[in-house]
Symmetry: C2
Subunit: 347 residues, 2 copies
DNA sequence: CGTAGTATTGTAAGCGCTTACAATGCTAAG
DNA sequence: CTTAGCATTGTAAGCGCTTACAATACTACG
């Protein structure tokens, strides 16, 4: 606690020797190192972080910037923990600390990020909830600090990102439904300005097009991440001359409301309306029939992001090509009974 | 980006003046300050964090240590974001940065904490998931760093903590049930070693005792935070000579499984089994009949913790008595229809 | 025995910023 | 006209650590 000088004096060596011993510098007598390490342990000494950073010009920590949104607080939550877990594991293995930096939705996320970056508080950054147009990316690129984003963006160019394979998910889902004879396939999209909303929407149109199905904007419904929205979805899709026979949910939790509403109307999921959820969530596990959905390992996202960042850090990176990683993490389909072929005699 | 010296040279003043201007030191000519601030803005200058910390001996940041647990990931969940939101708001208002520090369950949380503390990486600490015996508290106390815990512990003494008013919750719940004629009141408790489990259990026994009800350990059931456990709960409580007529749930999500199982047995929540949940959770909102439960503002917990910490920091703390805050945040009962009087003709 | 070469340690110069203290230029009182 | 007193600015000494470079002590060799 009293600094390296204290420890050095105690041992009768110079601070340089202590520093070298502690940092694994090879130019130290093995015996000396041993002594120093023991003494450090005994006296509970740990190098002052600020001093180290200042002297080395490196912080040994990376930031993960997340946004706090009172509204969708519970949604980010689950996603968050799993991802952080993966990141933490990888970074820790490389001697890096992960600092989760929460930015209130109410404050300017650009300024918030800028503070940490320009102050040199972290060696690298990971961003979440990327927007289609996201100034933060330009900021990071121009500042030259290594970074990775969770989610693609149209801003910046040639930077590393990790994203979900929304295209693959959508293609698989639509293929499956079309296979079952569905031609009126609806979709729910997230309200909000994160880029994944747009991507999911595009993938939807593309997939329909591939099968020669017309796009009908009446089959597109914006939802929040709440079960309540199910009523509107069901009534909106079925009470029309050309009702939808299937729906793909961005927020799987919507299934709860849909199931309830269907039950009220005496209808059954998988027969009267085929439902495919996007991302297997605990809160939907108990529904009967089981929701057909796509699964995903949250920690894997985190490790992927962390690795992508490591590739850019001046650590043991053996000149790994460009160092840029752009990866769409695939999700696997977990068949349930919430979807099925169009009943004979229906459109 | 190029340091305060660069800025100073650019302006033809000394670094001291620049520093003073930037830090709001009153001994600077107003005009000079203006010039400096403008130049800093224009050149995108921001003081190096490490250098500041080293010179000032203060980091202007506080850590919030959380534990990542793949298993119970969903438990910490929902809790996290809301609480962080409150903390962040209060701390930011005082010019402090909040660093969320995730510790993998697999690694030693004591060592993890120690690193950040002894390195002087933060000015203060907030701990979550306090254990009944928690060495981290002793560590923090002996290190002298200001800290607050979310949850009580038997370790340490005279430190600040914020916790939920489990006692109040339990008393209210039991009172309400007894009022309805219940005398066989069961409870579910969290498995795991966090202290709140023990506290909830004690409060349960105390409340029963207050009403002269005997404690029966058969009425105590350990659950995880999953809806599945409902089956065991229902069958275990009802299939016995002296069945329980009511149950208080630590994890409200258990209600989902209970409802399902009751339905399978042709029974109805609120009539055949009274249910009171502990903490209103989104995932249970959709159940019918609505679960009677206790509500809580997550951000309030966060702000309370942050304030308790601020009281210990050498900021604008006007000698606030001892600076120690120990507070049990009350929860409000939100009546639903999942509980009711014991039907006539029953035990 | 002298010397180049190697292993180990010490010396001291920063890293970029803050801040006590000294210095300067004024203003206003004597 | 002098000088005490205030406002403003500059000078320079660290903060605790790392690291280039110098110094020292050995070892092995010719």
């Amino acid at each position: 606690m009293r600094g390296i000088a204290h420890l050095a004096r105690e041992l009768g060596v110079s601070t340089a020797t202590v520093s070298r011993a502690l940092n694994g510098n090879p130019n130290v007598n093995a015996a000396t190192r041993q002594t120093v390490l023991e003494a450090a342990q005994r006296l509970g000494y740990a190098a002052n972080q600020a001093a180290r950073s200042l002297a080395q010009g490196v912080t040994h920590s990376v930031g993960f910037m997340i946004e706090l949104d009172q509204e969708s607080t519970t949604s980010t939550d689950y996603f968050f923990m799993g991802v952080v877990e993966g990141m933490q594991a990888v970074l820790a293995a490389h001697g890096l600390d992960l600092l989760v930096l929460p930015c209130a939705k109410s404050q300017d996320n650009f300024t918030y990020l800028q503070r940490f970056v320009s102050r040199g508080a972290v060696d690298g950054m990971i961003l979440a909830e990327t927007r289609r147009i996201d100034r933060r990316i330009d900021l990071l690129q121009s500042s030259g600090i290594p970074f990775v984003t969770l989610g693609r963006s149209d801003s910046g160019s040639g930077y590393s990102w990790i994203d979900l394979d929304f295209e693959g998910v959508m293609a698989t889902a639509v293929d499956r439904l079309v296979q079952g004879g569905h031609r009126r396939i609806a979709v729910t999209l997230p309200s909000g300005d994160a880029n994944y909303g747009s991507i999911f929407a595009e993938a939807y149109r593309d997939s329909l097009a591939r099968h020669g199905l017309a796009f009908d904007e009446d089959l597109v419904i914006l939802t929040r991440r709440r079960e309540d929205d199910g009523d509107a979805v069901v009534d909106g899709l079925l009470d029309r001359p050309d009702p939808a026979t299937a729906i793909i949910l961005f927020y799987e939790v919507t299934a709860i409301g849909i199931y309830r509403r269907l039950a009220e109307r005496g209808l059954r999921p998988g027969r009267d309306l085929s439902i495919i959820g996007f991302r297997g969530e605990d809160s939907v596990r108990f529904l009967t029939p089981q929701v057909t959905c796509f699964h995903l390992s949250l920690p894997d996202i985190g490790t992927a992001a962390a690795r992508a960042l490591l590739a850019q850090l001046p650590l043991a990176a053996p000149a790994s090509s460009s160092g840029i990683v752009q990866c769409r993490v695939p999700l696997s389909l977990v068949p349930g009974e919430s979807d099925g072929p169009v009943p004979a005699g229906q459109a």
